[in-house]
Subunit: 347 residues, 4 copies
């Protein structure tokens, strides 16, 4: 099946390979009337770019989005918003040695098993570059969320076991890992504020279930906690339950082990996610692997690779979260008959 | 929206409240020709039942499934399989005191915020009893998996911080927690063997993304690891990458930090999930909360409640996993043009 | 795939065979707060029943619906509404002679080709009895439409080439057809009033496209006109275009060749459908056909069959139309950013 | 909602406005290994082009497709195929006078009602130009069908009430209509040969239901017949039923009133569709209408418009049909457990 489309009412479809001519996204179901410019998108694209610093790849990606449809006189029209970015700095020769090899930690073997072939240039469709299209789509979702007073903020919280707040230690760790031709895992946290209560669907389309799908659809994610997350598994109920209280006439919880979601519905508290990324699988040191002919070989991966995935991925976490929230908010509008009657009696 | 349907080609729709007349599931898209009896289903239903032991609720649920459609002369026909179980031991009077109160750790406040009302009897639709319908649906998926040589096994692996292998210590912990009118978190692991490589879809419908949605759609799940999971976030790439080797002519990995999934596709290794459950939110000791009129109150929850969710939930994890795998296997059949041509030239 | 689910936000899933123990429907995504009783449903079920008159089957179907979930204290709760009706008057022995034969005009050969087997009792899943479940689901949609001031009315408009207004002539035609052990085609018209403008989606999910799918999903439908329909193919543009005018401050059209839909969106005029049903394929006179072993045989179909499909099918047309409209109305709520902001600022 | 995506396993998403910078399509779920070049697509694009003759618009559309992803070394890879065409000959000044007017027979009023705004340039998203993207997507589906020995052919069969076989009379009619600053309706027939039996899904996703949705999603379609279509409504059952016989060891029907589909499943006979198009709504003669401020006005539509929709639309009918068939064929692969076991035991 497809698999390149995400969402129900607010829906993105991404396309493109790492070293093809271009990649892009179609945002369908975006409500009409949202002010939107290429600049709004490029702010997010910029955050995804390597900064040339220690922690990320040296590839020079001038990822500036072109909006091809769905915006007229500076506002969204309700029709699909197509956005594209050209692949300019491709250097596909870097990847020739992996043409027949199955890189450890990568999807190469899976692709060949599934499709009988693959676009091996830079990982093709399985490249992290695919996430650029998600970010462009998510940036549109963020615009709508901000109109509703909802903010989503994700950031790198740890490199290996070093907290991101200890910035110098992190830099040192990354440097030493890079010198060892190795890579290191990382952790990203994401916080949503301003979310109304009651958003999400009971049973299968729980808000946390949809968030989990969104987060695990980002390559290299191996674990997710919502609220207390895996720590909740060692807690007592009396400790884990968040008491409801009333503050300023509003129902709130005094703790937030639930991470803002109970029974699949938001409860009005902040939504807290912790996302665990594996270390970058492309490392410079030689690795044992197998090739297409099922021969055991030693592989050296050349090219430019982030030793830490989490920093550039934080904005991807943010954008995937935003996409889930917008979709859930739109779906939620049809929950109550009285509100539907109100809506249509205003026409 | 709906939200009570799960899956694309192999799809279940569940319905029913804890204290309504019945609950059930419709399995649509089940291939024709699978031998299926009510007994096949009841084996799974039995595993979900409280056993009267320390770890689970005393409610006497004779959850025997009635198959109402989709099976003819002992085999599935390809048409929807409707299965129902009556709610017999309802005792709804137990729940009268929670009619207007928002139980901490429960979805009550979310339901009222969303729908302006709720069926408060025993948690209504948000009751763990809803999972009985999933298990019935998942049992059908398990039949098909077994025809393909694929097994799925989930089990309680820890109660709080005590490994389930130390059975006596677990029993003691549960007893003490119960005596304290409290509850305790738990961990369930799930292993899939026999999975072919290449199953799942790249990008949004990654196999791990769909598993994550399935698992987080189970009430009380707060964390999920796939393979090394959150531990991968502190590992080096050289340590985390699983080397490919050839054994008996087959491509295998010598370690399995990936948990059998790379880039969203199965790689032929075992799929390993670790699922973290919060402690049962319904505890007997008095709790602070708020009622419908936004008054702060003290609440005592009566009734029968498992102090540990993981033991009865293991079979639910197993069944949700099976549903994802079957759907992905069916979808995967259309991946290659040559195989489609083969398929239709055999007709 | 599945195929037994219809709709996106307001969604029904039907199940059941003609001669299995029961059949039913799950309505998921129904907004909370709609007053609903079994009686509301049975009014529609009654209209689908044979009336014992000339035009319909003698099967005595006491099709009284049981609501099993989703309604609490007389109102919908927002959770799935499961409705079931038992098959009581089954007489499956009537159908033994068609076990191995492929009835002309029926799906038998298609089912065997697809599934390698079929439930041959009374047509199994392909029986017109399946539509009882749709009617139950559609009756819920009708309740919501009536709260919005929208009415849907379908009726038999012709039997063969005799207008239904000439009731006596119709009865005579049906009598003579029945005496000849034959059957006759029919036409049903459906009118929607009170529909606001702008409902539906551009491009693939046009309101007319979704109506067409809904209508052609009813067995025995072979043609559909929207507005002027096939007559539009011989008209001039100057004749076919409906001029817009203003009446009582409202934009209206002075003719309605478009049948209330332009470019896939409602335009505020009545929606007019004309649905063409083939004659009942089950006729008593002997027919040439083929059996499972691909032998040519003569077949006599016994049992009770309507000689005219349109009369009992009118309520099915009405219900399928209602399902499409409700879904489109709910989806439409997310079309404009300003209305979304209004909606959530009221919370 | 979205509404710009069509299909389940084989799925297209289109985007673009008539006078925006470009329009395009993303084909997702296309099986790997299909030989595909831009030339394969352009053959179909060419058929959709105005030929400069009497019957079509004078707009010079050099609609040459650019493939941006999903094809590697001349074959599809299984990942999304993005195709784009630039809008070059836009002349948007032609449309300035319709900025505030609601053109009769067009979606303008519906768009404004729905979105509170619209891209008025050349009809924006509701322009027939949108179908160029469908044709590009359908061309890919046609490639797969041809590998399976299935052909789909649509052609103009009548202009007004003149059969397309009387070519001279048709030309005369079109000339006179054009001279009268008017337009004329048309009919397109579509035939599918080589379709195996058993394709489609029972109940809601019947093959005819999905075809009906596909066909009515094409702008200006007002009626559809399958097989005998609306004529079946005046036939007797004994006349309409197609007898099954055996020819060369194959089950066939000796007539084809069913148009190749019974009970929603193909029966191995040719699939026959008749599609009725209304006359082009954009006519040069002055028309009564209403503007945005709800004032009654007279409108003259300038610009280049086909007086007959059917000729250029035939290839659109063909492509939409192909998309439905491919999707149904892929979905059908999961119908039988024994074939699934065969499929996976070959891996």
């Amino acid at each position: 099946m497809a698999g390149s489309t995400f969402g129900t009412l607010f829906r993105i479809t991404t396309w493109g390979e790492s070293h093809g001519p271009a990649l892009g996204v179609v945002v369908d179901g975006c409500p009409a009337g949202i002010p939107l410019s290429e600049e709004d998108i490029n702010v997010y694209m910029e955050r995804r770019r390597p900064n040339g610093g220690n922690m990320s790849t040296a590839r020079n990606e001038a990822d500036r989005i072109e909006i091809l449809s769905g915006v007229f006189e500076g506002r969204t029209t309700g029709t699909p918003i197509s956005m594209m970015l050209r692949n300019t700095d491709q250097r596909s020769h870097d990847y020739s040695n992996i043409k027949d090899a199955y890189r450890p930690g990568h999807a190469d073997f899976g692709y060949d098993s599934k499709y009988g072939m693959r676009d091996y240039r830079g990982g093709g469709r399985s490249s992290a570059r695919e996430t650029a299209a998600r970010v462009a789509g998510g940036a549109v979702a963020m615009k709508l969320l901000s109109m509703l007073g909802i903010s989503v903020t994700a950031e790198l919280s740890a490199v290996g076991d070093i907290s991101a707040s200890e910035m110098e230690k992190c830099e040192d760790l990354v440097s030493s890992v890079r010198n060892e031709q190795d890579s290191i895992g990382s952790t990203v946290t994401c916080k949503v504020t301003g979310m109304p209560a009651g958003i999400g669907q009971p049973v299968f389309d729980k808000l946390d279930a949809d968030l989990a799908k969104a987060i695990f659809s980002i390559g290299a994610v191996k674990g997710l906690d919502i609220g207390a997350g895996h720590s909740a598994a060692v807690m007592r109920g009396s400790e884990n339950n968040d008491p409801f209280r009333v503050r300023d006439g509003k129902v709130v919880t005094t703790t937030n082990n639930a991470g803002g979601i109970l029974g699949g519905l938001s409860n009005g508290s902040d939504i807290d996610l912790t996302v665990y990324f594996k270390p970058t699988p492309s490392i410079a040191r030689p690795q044992q692997t197998v090739n297409k002919d099922h021969e055991e070989i030693d592989l050296e991966i050349r090219g430019r690779h982030d030793p830490v995935i989490g920093r550039r991925a934080a904005v991807v976490v943010e954008c995937m979260t935003a996409l889930v929230l917008v979709d859930a908010l739109l779906i939620n509008m049809s929950s109550r008959a009285d509100k539907i009657v109100d809506f249509y009696s205003c026409l």
